[in-house]
């Protein structure tokens, strides 16, 4: 895959500069770091929300900075968790005294680096707590292993926790609502083509013209099973079935996210959505919100993921709350 970049070594820094240059009224880079914060951070008396991870997932995570969502995004190298010193800078920049919640996706690297930063911040007297998102049902949820990955469902955690924080909730309340989302959100993805990390220069895996990988993550890694490429309806069925088998959604109302991984046209995402909505209707599961688009990508990987979040009155209201985040305006 060809890249429109200058130098793989500076791709992340060039991106950050281009991003902040595009939206100077909303975003600010902390000088000398790869941390992007909400222009007006720290917001007085508000709990600060910090997320982040490797880059290559754009619009995640900087696209979710804004009123009603995140206060900071820590940007790592491509698919590489940022380091504790960077996360610490973010925590310090957004702490108004009301404490800071870290929204971490469940990857060994992310968890370790963010936790180390939290320890450092606590040592500096900042109140820090964390939640770990692990919505990917493709991976077994076992304590003996690394456990489930955090994928597109993370965006809904950002949205809901962000709305809660914006309403003036305490750190504990914001953490609790984030945990509530995590408890009720499930995702699963499929890839029809891999991606190329700029510095690696070659595709992370290869698929034949008639193959797909089921249960992929968002780092260009292979999935849990290689299969013959099937129709959009069959793919949607397979992903949704796995999600519905994992958590009891009976008599629930849900928010749906159909997330593009990078190079899959929006047309195809809507085609997938058509089947997903049909399946939910069959199961008599009501849909409160649907989000179709690129929310959590893996560079130019082709494919998509389906996310379902169980919602109630509280979560629906928080989903509907205003947000000025570039990639999630409400």
């Amino acid at each position: 895959m060809k890249k429109i970049i200058n130098d793989p070594e500076h791709a992340v820094q060039d991106m950050i500069k281009g991003l902040v240059a595009a939206y100077p009224k909303q975003l600010k880079q902390i000088t000398g770091t790869n941390v992007i914060i909400r222009k007006e951070a720290p917001v007085a008396t508000k709990v600060g929300l910090v997320s982040g991870g490797g880059s290559g997932h754009e619009p995640a995570h900087a696209g979710y900075i804004g009123k009603g969502m995140l206060d900071a995004a820590v940007v790592g190298e491509v698919f590489t968790s940022p380091t504790p010193d960077q996360v610490l800078e973010a925590i310090k920049a957004v702490d108004s005294g009301a404490g800071v919640l870290l929204i971490i996706k469940n990857y060994t690297g992310d968890v370790m680096n963010f936790e180390m930063a939290a320890e450092m911040a606590e040592a500096e007297g900042i109140q820090v707590d964390k939640v770990i998102v692990n919505d990917d049902v493709a991976v077994e949820n076992s304590t003996a292993t690394t456990g489930r990955r955090g994928i597109a469902g993370t965006v809904l955690v950002h949205k809901i926790a962000g709305a809660m924080a914006e309403q003036g909730a305490s750190l504990k309340e914001v953490k609790d609502i984030a945990e509530k989302v995590i408890a009720g959100v499930r995702s699963m993805g499929v890839a029809t083509a891999a991606c190329t990390v700029p510095a690696a220069g070659k595709q992370s895996f290869e698929l034949a013209e008639d193959e797909m990988e089921i249960g992929i993550g968002i780092h260009g890694e292979p999935g849990i099973e290689r299969k013959k490429l099937s129709s959009a309806a069959e793919i949607a069925q397979q992903l949704t079935d796995k999600i519905l088998a994992d958590l009891d959604f009976k008599d629930s109302e849900v928010a749906v996210m159909i997330n593009g991984l990078g190079s899959t046209p929006e047309m195809e995402l809507y085609i997938v959505n058509q089947t997903v909505q049909g399946i939910l209707a069959e199961h008599e599961i009501k849909v409160s919100h649907t989000f179709v688009g690129e929310y959590m990508t893996a560079l130019e990987m082709a494919g998509c993921s389906v996310t379902l979040l169980k919602v109630d009155k509280e979560l629906k209201a928080l989903l509907d709350a205003p947000s000025t985040a570039l990639a999630f305006k409400m």
Binding site: T83, Q86, T145, E221
Partner: protein, 206 residues
């Protein structure tokens, strides 16, 4: 060799860095097979920064040098490998604080490093991670009483190769379950380079 001195640790890092730069693509390919394809890139960036750091500072004590190595790896590697390698060197630094890096102290330091890595990553032996190489070397060293290049390199090599047939239960490779079998663990390979470099320093000194 009687004990590791500042110049030895410098050489150790220099040789490690050379190996990692030379094998950057190998590491990345291994990580593409069962991970996310950045291990070579991360390690190459991190160890280059280590050399940049060591070249601008003067060290009297091995512990100080190890601490700077730790902090550089921690803040430049990222991903899973960054905190783990960082922790390993930090633990070594702490153990050797105000001590000479005699064989006894140094092999103790490696044990502390392994314990630190295990704790940080919550991995045990046999989970197809760098713990497999570090533990094997620490174990072997604790049974000896003098620096032996051959023993270190052979132990590390064998441990690295043993990861090939393991099914991963920690790290990214765990997502692949059975499909992780048949590939060596990238972090174990980079750890092998590190111990191979150490062995070369020891051999050089005789």
């Amino acid at each position: 060799m009687d004990h590791l001195q500042v110049n030895h640790v410098y050489q150790w890092m220099q040789i490690t860095n050379d190996k990692i730069q030379k094998n950057k693509e190998t590491l990345t390919s291994l990580d593409q097979a069962i991970g996310d394809g950045d291990h070579g890139i991360n390690m190459a960036r991190g160890f280059q920064e280590v050399m940049n750091k060591l070249d601008t500072e003067n060290y009297e004590h091995v512990a100080d040098m190890l601490k700077d190595i730790a902090m550089t790896l921690m803040s430049k590697v990222g991903g899973a490998a960054g905190p783990l390698y960082g922790t390993a060197f930090l633990k070594m630094s702490t153990r050797l604080k105000e001590q000479d890096a005699t064989y006894g102290n140094f092999s103790q330091a490696i044990i502390e490093a392994v314990n630190g890595v295990k704790q940080r990553g919550k991995a045990e032996i046999g989970e197809k991670t760098m713990v497999d190489v570090w533990s094997a070397v620490a174990d072997q060293m604790s049974k000896e009483n003098h620096f032996s290049a051959d023993l270190i390199v052979n132990t590390a090599k064998e441990a690295m190769e043993s990861t090939k047939e393991m099914m991963a239960t920690k790290g990214r490779a765990a997502y692949l379950k059975e499909r992780s079998v048949g590939h060596m663990d990238p972090g174990s390979v980079s750890s092998f380079y590190l111990f191979e470099a150490l062995a070369e320093v020891i051999a050089e000194e005789g």
